[in-house]
């Protein structure tokens, strides 16, 4: 099972593997930027699946969708990965395995705050025996959350030793990125961001740009194309290394 799980990994997160960590590593904060509807949520779910397939504990936080919906996204993506490998018979087993490593937490009706997150992490660690290694936070409204808020959640993730992934919406007609900086609104809190990707529709696919890697701004185009449905790499991580 472990071999198959490893082979299924196809998230761009695999590109960031360093020092034996399946992803960028603890205390690292990643950001994916795109316009509405391009697939930021799918990208984050892909990251989550990648961590789960690496047997890392994932805390997926949603601010507007119930547990069932988020679970459905994970299940659909996993099914697609297994169908591609013609290994659907392992669905139930892998599902069970990844559910042991995943916790979905939803804060509805604007109940999310760094304090609530801290309280939830305390609950999970003290009562749920669950220490997240990857925290995914979807649909955070940066314009209202502010730079201070980003710093606070970054500190929280660092304290528990988790890597944190956020998604940020950009606007077609909004101000453009200045040279050497992330596009607005992420430029306001870019010093807290270690890795940043942007997603753009391109010729029936999605092009992934690496804007920042390990605190270093990049200006070269690595020409990485993603499947427009799954937002995953065309070739799997395991396949590259086998």
């Amino acid at each position: 099972m472990t071999g198959l799980m490893f082979k299924l990994r196809r998230s761009p997160r695999t590109l960031l593997e360093r020092d034996g960590h399946p992803g960028p590593g603890p205390g690292h904060i990643g950001l994916v930027m795109a316009r509405a509807g391009v697939g930021k949520t799918a990208f984050l779910v892909g990251l989550g699946i990648d961590a789960l397939l690496s047997k890392q504990n994932v805390l997926h936080i949603s601010l507007d969708r119930g547990v069932d919906k988020v679970r459905e996204w994970y299940d659909d993506l996993l099914l697609g990965l297994l169908q591609r490998e013609r290994k659907v018979q392992h669905l139930a087993g892998i599902q069970l395995e990844i559910e042991r490593h995943r916790h979905i937490h939803t804060y509805l009706n604007d109940t999310f705050s760094p304090e609530r997150l801290q309280a939830s992490l305390d609950l999970l660690m003290n009562f749920g025996d669950f220490v997240p290694r990857v925290i995914i936070l979807d649909r955070l409204d940066f314009e209202h959350f502010g730079t201070g808020g980003v710093r606070e959640i970054r500190d929280l993730a660092e304290n528990v030793g988790a890597e944190l992934w956020l998604a940020c919406r950009t606007h077609r007609d909004g101000p453009q990125a200045e040279d050497g900086h992330l596009p607005p609104p992420a430029d306001a809190f870019e010093r807290y961001i270690d890795t940043a990707f942007s997603l753009d529709p391109y010729d029936a696919k999605i092009r992934l740009h690496v804007l920042k890697d390990y605190q270093k701004m990049l200006d070269e185009d690595l020409n990485i194309l993603l499947d427009p449905t799954t937002l995953l790499l065309e070739t799997g991580f395991g396949a590259n290394r086998s």
Binding site: R65, G66, Q89, T106, L108, N109, L123, F127
Partner: protein
């Protein structure tokens, strides 16, 4: 009774426990003049709600069986099934949804979308049932219809649109603003029967305008005509009704209504909405299978002249014999008609035809497509289809979950034994999730069902309705066994004891099979095993799966493939191949790394946020795997998969840990392997109990 089929509505009323479904139905019956007095659910007045006709239902204040009734409302005929809220009785909800065309999802305005609302919504989605939502209890402290509507969107993913606004809330809840007609409605008279329709209070005018604009924005997606009219500020109620109806029928819109059934507010507009927005039998495409033509799907039409097709969705044994609840999908069925039971091809004569009103009934001469009625004098099972002479059409069956819990029962004396048998025979016929078997080893009668409460209710009914006093054993979990890897077999069965002997040889393998309980694949080439013995092999393998060698529970999820073998012209027989298959299975089973599986329940616990930690701990202590949690305005819901074996007594523990402020529901989730340590203990216990049994013999 003759009525236009477009004016028939077959609706269900479903919700979480204690959201007020039965109270709502009681009001509907009252306003439609079906009853002349309103009674409380818990029967404080000694009468009890009309639809909770079972004594046990009235005592406990919960609905156990779904009851059927009908009302007339503004030239429409509405058949209503009031369904239970507790998940242990989920088969009743499934039965109702299978035969209904639309539903009203009732929610509490304080608690909002609760765990059972999610289960019920999932069931509605499975059967593609269009629905309206009714936010009840707006008079309660903490009532917040906006929050509940958001919950419908966030938690259930429904395109929920408020069609009304409350005038006041909690103790000040006075009436509603209808955003379609832009009028205020107050419910006057002793029981809210007199509607006073006035202008919207000035203080609410602005809010009503903006909410109407939001509503039109969403609803106009379903009608270009409405969109154009809305742009010109000329949206008429007719255009809005038409667009909402389209949205509801396409399952893309869930209009939301508000009220307080207990305080007699908001019910009549809800009934208008049922007429206006929920489908008639003509609006719902129904598919049957033609069993005479390789089960080709056939679309049925609500045409009263066509071949009659009816579906039995519920059975009840009463003083006049078996009462079978039927939905007629096509044609007409009249008293004295001959119908054919599709499954058995038996011809039956309709002796008595009745229209149900809770436990009362009214004899009728005939019923037509779209109707829900009762038949007497027909012996059948739930899920059977009936047709008038013509093609053998069958409706597709309902989803019947497997029982997950068992209980041994022992009659107190001989009289109780006879009565218990009668009761069990009736209950198992009525309820496909209730099973009865005799344990070969202990000789005990074992009943199985969907949860503790499910079995508890049947044991209580045995006592009350059949005077069968029984002692019950400790609840037992329905474990399963499964293999985890492929294993080959090559087995020869040879026996010569004088006369003709027995000879059969077969080879192949077993492998895990996730898509079902069992699959048999024959890949014998060149007649190594003669074709006539292949069914015997299949039968032998299948019978070997009834009892696993680990702890004696049934084996599931196995594909058996045979690819070689041998036979003898004289000594081979069906019996020899069956014996060989069983032995081959046992041989390979040991090598296939068998494991014990246990049922996991999806448990959802809800309570005030401050108890979240306690809830987590309570689930973790029971080997629960926390799937997720939701925080919402001071409330928290935690969902976990917990082994059923750990859930006994949970309700008492949860109550004491949360001062009675948290509640939980659970439903079967899936089977999963038992952890190694526990598995070893179970194996040792099974071996020792088997050894004890053998020594006693």
């Amino acid at each position: 009774m003759n009525y236009d089929i477009d004016r028939i509505r077959n609706i269900g009323i479903s919700a979480h426990i204690d959201s007020g479904k039965t109270t709502l139905t009681e009001r509907i019956l009252f306003y439609a003049q079906k009853i002349h007095a309103i009674h409380d659910v818990k029967g404080k007045d000694g009468v009890g709600a009309t639809m909770d006709h079972m004594e046990l239902e009235r005592e406990r204040g919960i609905t156990i069986t779904s009851a059927a009734t009908y009302v007339g409302w503004k030239d429409h005929h509405i058949n209503i099934i009031d369904t239970p809220g507790h998940v242990d009785f989920t088969i009743e909800v499934e039965r109702a949804l299978r035969v209904l065309d639309g539903a009203v999802l009732v929610l509490c305005s304080v608690a909002g979308v609760q765990s059972q609302s999610i289960t019920v919504d999932r069931q509605m989605k499975r059967y593609k049932v269009p629905r309206l939502a009714f936010i009840n209890k707006c008079d309660r402290s903490g009532a917040n219809p906006d929050r509940v509507t958001n919950g419908l969107r966030d938690k259930l993913g429904l395109n929920a649109i408020l069609m009304q606004l409350p005038i006041g809330l909690e103790a000040d809840f006075e009436g509603i603003v209808d955003l379609v007609e832009m009028k205020a409605i107050y419910f006057r008279g002793e029981s809210g029967e007199d509607l006073e329709i006035t202008a919207i209070p000035e203080s609410m005018q602005e809010l009503a305008e903006s909410r109407r604009a939001e509503m039109l924005d969403s609803v106009s997606m379903f009608s270009d005509e409405l969109m154009e009219a809305a742009l010109e500020d000329a949206a008429t109620p007719e255009l809005i009704h038409d667009a909402v109806r389209k949205g509801v029928l396409s399952l893309e819109l869930a209009p939301v209504f508000i009220g307080s059934a207990y305080k007699n507010k908001g019910i009549q507009p809800l009934l208008d909405a049922v007429n206006n927005y929920l489908p008639s039998p003509n609006d719902v495409p129904i598919e049957a299978l033609d069993l005479d033509d390789e089960s080709v799907p056939v679309i049925l039409e609500s045409d009263v002249e066509k071949q009659a097709v009816a579906y039995a969705f519920k059975l009840e044994d009463g003083r006049f014999g078996q009462l079978t609840y039927m939905r007629i999908y096509q044609g007409t069925i009249a008293k004295g008609d001959t119908v054919i039971q599709t499954r058995t091809r038996r011809k039956l004569k309709i002796g008595r035809l009745v229209r149900m009103h809770s436990d009362k009934m009214e004899d009728i001469e005939k019923a037509t497509a779209g109707d829900i009625i009762g038949f007497f004098g027909i012996d059948c099972h739930t899920g059977d289809s009936f047709v008038s002479p013509g093609p053998r059409l069958a409706m597709t069956s309902m989803h019947v979950p497997e029982p997950v819990i068992s209980l041994s029962i022992l009659p107190a004396d001989n009289k109780a034994q006879t009565n218990m048998s009668k009761a069990l025979s009736r209950f198992s016929k009525e309820d496909p999730t209730f099973r009865v078997r005799l344990d070969d080893e202990s000789g005990e009668t074992i009943i199985s069902g969907m949860g503790e409460l499910h079995l508890e209710v049947y044991v209580e009914r045995m006592r009350r309705e059949y005077s069968a006093e029984v002692e019950t054993g400790a609840p037992q979990v329905a474990y399963r066994e499964a293999i985890s890897r492929r294993a080959e077999f090559n087995y020869t069965h040879k026996k010569q004891t004088g006369g003709s002997g027995q000879y059969a040889k077969l080879a192949g393998y077993l492998e895990p099979f996730d898509e079902g309980e069992y699959e048999f694949v024959n890949e014998i080439r060149g007649g190594a095993i003669p074709t006539e013995f292949i069914p015997a092999c299949n039968k032998g393998f299948r019978s070997a799966m009834h009892e696993g060698s680990l702890i004696g529970f049934p084996i599931v999820g196995v594909r058996v493939l045979i690819n070689d073998g041998n036979s003898h012209s004289v000594d081979s027989s069906d019996m020899a191949f069956q014996v060989a298959s069983r032995a081959a299975f046992r041989e390979a089973y040991r090598k296939a790394n068998p494991r014990i599986l246990e049922p996991l329940m999806r448990v959802a616990v809800e309570g005030p946020g401050e108890f979240q930690g306690v809830i987590y701990r309570s689930l973790m202590q029971r080997r629960g795997n926390i799937i997720g949690s939701v925080e919402d305005a001071g409330f928290a819901r935690v969902e976990a998969d917990v082994p059923l074996s750990e859930m006994f007594g949970y309700s008492t523990d949860l109550r004491s840990a949360t001062q009675g402020k948290a509640e939980f529901t659970m439903e079967f989730s899936r089977y999963a392997p038992v952890p190694r340590e526990l598995s070893e203990k179970m194996l040792a216990d099974y071996r020792s109990s088997k050894k004890d049994g053998e020594e006693k013999k």
